[in-house]
């Protein structure tokens, strides 16, 4: 093998790996074959190595073999260049030679290839006749190719621009979809937080317009009789004007709103000029496209949402889907708000009824109670009057001369005179008295009985007057402080003087102090324990259990007062809280105890309730707020 450094160098520019390896095999035993797959690499390699011969394939990326030949020729004017080409058409060979090649070898590469290469290396130069003509043809070819390149480039530019636009559109679509979803979420969130229906609808209409720059948005609700779609919220000035005019549409085929409600389907007009079922609204002259989305809950259309744009074709599929999703959420919110409203109405009716009932009961009980308490007064007074007459008659019997002094004598005189002035015939009374049996008369002038009757009248009057304290007591100003209920109730029980062992106290270790008016709350427990004790008048082993724990709601302390008495019948469990209602009769209840207990507990922000069954005792549950 000869020294490769002394072998001639041939540069071969060809993009096909297969052809390159074929040529390498054919030539490498006698030449050093430099290879380039790309004409630009080839040009660089040629400049660096100054090969003895350059073989260039005609069909190459970036430029043709001829163009490469022209450039190589300029760069290395003395190096022979041979073009290898599969183009057998007329003029192909000549154009290649015109480009600057010394030879033209046709493909496929066959047996005489090496010989041809040898010949060109040894100085063979093909002669080009009529060179001027072929040069022109070559230049024409060049121009055409350049034009083609430019066309391709501008196509690419156009294509890029199109892609860019598409990307931009996609991006803005994504952005819009994101915004829609965000808005839908906002509406959804709002729907759960705003229970006032009008507020919710107003916000929704505003958000739809402000977030999507729509011309107008409004929400209609179907009237109770189903005949009308009544505008309940509308965007901006047009909305306010329409609201002021009680804007409404018949639920029929004549309007998009009516249609969407009847068919429970979204109605979309991308160009309102072509929409026959669209009602032309004088308040919204600029509307160009419009949609009506039904508000449906449980396959019942509550109303419809209208969205209007001043542009044609304003709504994309995305918009419609997102806005319908939003409409569905609004529908649910409207339904909730309506249910809440109905519930509130029902509740306030109930409260009213209950209040009237309570007032009626209280009034009835008050009349009954006062009547009962006052009943003994006239009888007692009448007896006192009778007794007084008899005693006065006796007094008038005193002989003035018997009187020990002048004053007494004057007093006897006064009794006689004033009795006469009152039309009382004391002498006649005395006659009646003389006719009575001794013990009967003694009974009539009994000082003890006289005093007792005065006591009866006084006690009755005092009891009636004590109502005032019962009614006003809880209304007094409170003086709240941190109070230990266990301490307070323990002291209260001790001061009540109930028999030993009746009251059992039990306190949880973690029971916090409460924030209350000590005096008033003491009265509450005093009252409850006293009630329990009095209710057990006929109970064989009376017991009162007072228990304090931290309530399940940690902001409260729960104290229960439970007795083993007869219990409170279901039918009066409600009544016991009413003023003047009493079950105690003769034991002197004012009927204000539990009503003022409840008032005090409620005023402290606490609550009181009763659990009782006849025969199983009664338990009062008092909850009071923990000190903060």
């Amino acid at each position: 093998m000869s020294d490769p450094r002394k072998l001639p160098q041939i540069l071969y520019i060809e993009d096909s790996d297969e052809t390159r390896s074929l040529v390498r095999r054919l030539l490498s035993h006698k030449y050093v074959v430099l290879e380039a797959a790309d004409p630009l690499d080839g040009l660089q390699l040629a400049e660096e190595t100054h090969p003895s011969l350059i073989l260039v394939d005609q069909s190459l990326p970036h430029m043709t073999g001829s163009e490469a030949a022209t450039r190589l020729r300029k760069m290395l004017p003395n190096t022979p260049i041979v073009i290898i080409s599969a183009d057998l058409s007329t003029g192909a060979r000549e154009r290649a030679l015109a480009a600057g090649a010394v030879g033209f070898i046709t493909k496929p590469i066959d047996d005489d290839f090496v010989e041809q290469v040898d010949a060109y290396l040894n100085g063979k130069v093909e002669i080009l006749e009529d060179a001027e003509k072929h040069l022109q043809a070559y230049q024409q070819e060049l121009v055409e190719r350049l034009e083609g390149n430019i066309r391709q480039l501008s196509n690419t530019v156009a294509k890029n621009k199109h892609l860019l636009q598409q990307n931009e559109r996609m991006f803005s679509m994504l952005e819009r979809r994101h915004k829609l979803l965000e808005t839908a979420a906002r509406v959804g969130q709002m729907a759960t937080s705003i229970l006032d229906l009008d507020e919710l609808l107003k916000h929704t209409a505003n958000i739809i317009c402000s977030e999507f720059s729509f011309y107008y948005s409004g929400i209609f609700l179907v009237s109770e009789d189903g005949q009308w779609a009544i505008l309940r919220a509308g965007y901006a000035l047009a909305g306010r004007k329409m609201m002021a005019e009680n804007y409404r549409l018949h639920v029929d085929e004549k309007s998009m709103i009516g249609n969407s409600i009847i068919q429970q389907q979204a109605k979309i007009a991308l160009d309102v000029a072509g929409e026959e079922s669209r009602f032309k609204n004088p308040f919204l002259p600029n509307t160009r496209s419009e949609m009506a989305l039904p508000l449906i809950v449980q396959s019942h259309a509550l109303g419809a949402l209208t969205v209007q744009s001043a542009q044609l074709n304003a709504f994309t599929e995305e918009d419609i889907t997102s806005l319908q999703a939003m409409a569905d959420q609004i529908a649910i919110a409207i339904n909730n708000a309506q249910l809440m409203f109905k519930l509130e109405v029902a509740t306030s009716e109930l409260v009213r009824t209950k209040t009237f009932e309570a007032i009626a009961t209280a009034t009835g009980e008050a009349i009954h109670w006062v009547g009962n308490k006052a009943a003994p007064i006239p009888g007692s007074v009448r007896r006192v009057r009778e007794d007084l007459l008899y005693i006065l008659a006796l007094a008038a019997q005193l002989n003035e001369s018997d009187a020990k002094n002048e004053s007494l004598a004057a007093a006897v005189q006064t009794v006689r005179e004033e009795a006469e002035a009152q039309g009382i015939d004391l002498k006649q009374v005395l006659v009646e008295m003389s006719a009575m049996k001794k013990n009967r008369l003694q009974a009539l002038v009994s000082v003890e009985s006289l005093m007792e009757d005065l006591d009866i009248a006084e006690n009755s009057a005092v009891t009636i007057l004590s109502i005032k304290e019962g009614l006003i007591g809880p209304a007094r100003q409170r003086n709240d402080s941190s109070v230990s209920l266990s301490e307070m109730i323990t002291n209260t029980v001790a001061s009540m003087g109930l028999p030993d062992g009746v009251v059992e106290l039990e306190w949880a270790n973690d029971m916090p102090n409460v924030f209350v008016d000590a005096r008033q709350v003491e009265q509450v427990f005093n009252n409850l324990i006293k009630n329990s004790w009095e209710a057990m008048g006929q109970t064989s082993s009376p017991k009162i259990f007072v228990k304090g724990v931290r309530d399940a709601n940690p902001n409260f302390v729960l104290v229960t007062v439970k007795d083993t008495g007869p219990g409170i019948p279901k039918e009066i469990q409600e009544k016991i809280w009413v003023s003047f209602f009493t079950t105690k009769g003769g034991s002197g209840g004012t009927g204000l105890g539990l009503s003022s207990v409840m008032q005090i507990v409620n005023q402290h922000g606490g609550s009181i309730s009763l659990e009782s069954e006849v025969g199983k005792g009664a338990m009062f549950l008092v909850r009071l707020p923990v000190v903060k």
């Binding site: 009835g364 009888g379 009778e386 079950t583 003769g586 034991s587």
Partner: protein
């Protein structure tokens, strides 16, 4: 001598009526609820000429009851059907008291003018005799 059984749970009313009846010349036996009323009646079956019962008071089981007086009325009538009974009532319960008449009471009396009760008792006993 006429003996009246007087049953009422209002202490002051009971005492005041008792005094009025005593003054009018009646003997008076008192009780303050259904149970003791029934027991005392049983003990003095022959002595008691007439019973005056409050409408609302503790019933036989000791719990306060509207119309408990009607229960005692039935109980007394069971013990001695001939005994005349007057039901005492507040003036706002007259309807209920009227029902008592169909339940066997001779009359009802609205609390207040005690002398009226004396007259009522005298009238009833005259008719009975």
């Amino acid at each position: 001598m006429t003996t009246v059984l007087l049953v009422d749970d209002e202490k002051l009313i009971l005492r005041s009526l008792e005094k009025t009846l005593l003054r009018a010349g009646f003997d008076v036996i008192t009780a303050s609820d259904c149970k003791s009323g029934s027991e005392i009646f049983a003990q003095n079956l022959e002595t008691i000429n007439i019973a005056v019962l409050d409408l609302n008071m503790p019933s036989f089981d000791g719990t306060p009851k509207t119309g408990a007086g009607l229960d005692l009325l039935a109980d007394l009538k069971k013990q001695k059907s001939s005994v005349p009974v007057v039901i005492l009532t507040a003036y706002d319960e007259v309807t209920k008291a009227k029902e008592s008449v169909s339940g066997g009471a001779s009359a009802f009396f609205v609390k207040g003018r005690e002398q009226g009760l004396v007259e009522l008792i005298q009238k009833i006993l005259q008719v009975t005799e």
